[in-house]
Symmetry: C2
Subunit: 204 residues, 2 copies
């Protein structure tokens, strides 16, 4: 039977074990990714290096793409924490327009840093349409728009439009078979053009 | 062997025949769609009503989803003609900002009018990511942005962002399993919010 996901720091001994296993597997997978690259991060290799049984690795991740999905989820969780309670301007207590600019730029940086993982987690599947991709993006952008004095505007739709404008170029880039420019340059361009778009939209 | 697509008004007799067949099949499919709805537009029913052989219908469309794909292509061709040489403000000779507003609004109207066809042509497949969806949209928006005095801006990326902002909400709507609001109301909201977004972005 597939084990349910555990909560971090759950009190019962088996649950704490499972959480430790999970942390250990994620940390090992990150090391392997950094040292060996994505192609050599397989179920068997992860089991061997982590010193855990193949059954444990299989139950935890299901498939090889599941390892990358778990790494992405883990990264998403850390990213979300930065947004919700990290230092400004990404986290609270900066002016909302600064937070909006910082959010898009941090999102671009996060996905570009995780692009190898994101591609491997997609595993040949089509990404789902922009907008449904990032529930956090939409919710957060909508919340910040509500704090900016925009005059009359349909904030719900504007948040969907901006989420799509943020995700669209990234999804195009991540789903491209071949890359035509350097990731660093693309990240900078996207980051700058998000700032430009948001400042234009939010001008008083 | 699958016949190649014919050009409209091609001079050779067989080609003119094929073009007439195509026109006749598309017109018949449109009638059936209007009278009977999408579910009763099948390969067999289209062959019977058009008076053409099942083999001809099969060679032309391949699958039932292919009929809807052909209807959508045919509509896209007519839409493109309106953009390239129809009356202003959608067609040429209106100020570029007016054309940009009109383009998005016409695109929304077109896809909402064709939503039954677009859903049937998707046929359960995931739509591809926003931005790669509408090469015409991206090219046209990029061209119009170049005619507007926007000050310093990365026009290529801005065009990708605006294309995604136009497509994103529509793809979300078209891929939704159940519709939560009336199509007319949604079309009006999208149309208004596109105008609002573009005017904000292009303010001098």
């Amino acid at each position: 039977m597939k084990q349910p996901d555990v909560s971090w720091g759950a009190p019962r001994p088996e649950r704490a074990d499972a959480a430790r296993n999970r942390q250990h597997l994620i940390a090992t997978a990150r090391e392997m990714l950094a040292e060996l690259g994505p192609d050599r991060l397989t179920m068997d290799a992860l089991a061997e290096r982590s010193g855990l049984g193949k059954g444990t690795v299989f139950r935890r991740f299901g498939t090889r793409a599941g390892i990358f999905g778990a790494l992405l989820d883990d990264g998403e969780r850390a990213f979300q924490e930065q947004v919700l309670c990290g230092p400004p301007p990404l986290g609270p207590s900066a002016p909302p327009l600064d937070r909006l600019v910082a959010y898009g730029q941090a999102r671009v940086r996060f996905l570009m840093e995780h692009q190898v993982i994101a591609r491997a987690a997609l595993d040949g599947r089509q990404p789902i349409p922009a907008g449904s991709q990032s529930p956090l993006s939409h919710t957060h952008i909508r919340m910040l728009l509500g704090q900016i004095d925009l005059g009359p505007a349909d904030l719900d739709l504007l948040a969907i439009q901006l989420t799509a404008a943020l995700d669209g170029p990234l999804l195009l880039y991540l789903s491209a078979a071949t890359l035509t420019q350097s990731p660093q340059r693309f990240e900078q361009q996207l980051s700058d053009s998000w700032q430009d778009l948001v400042r234009r939209v939010c001008r008083p």
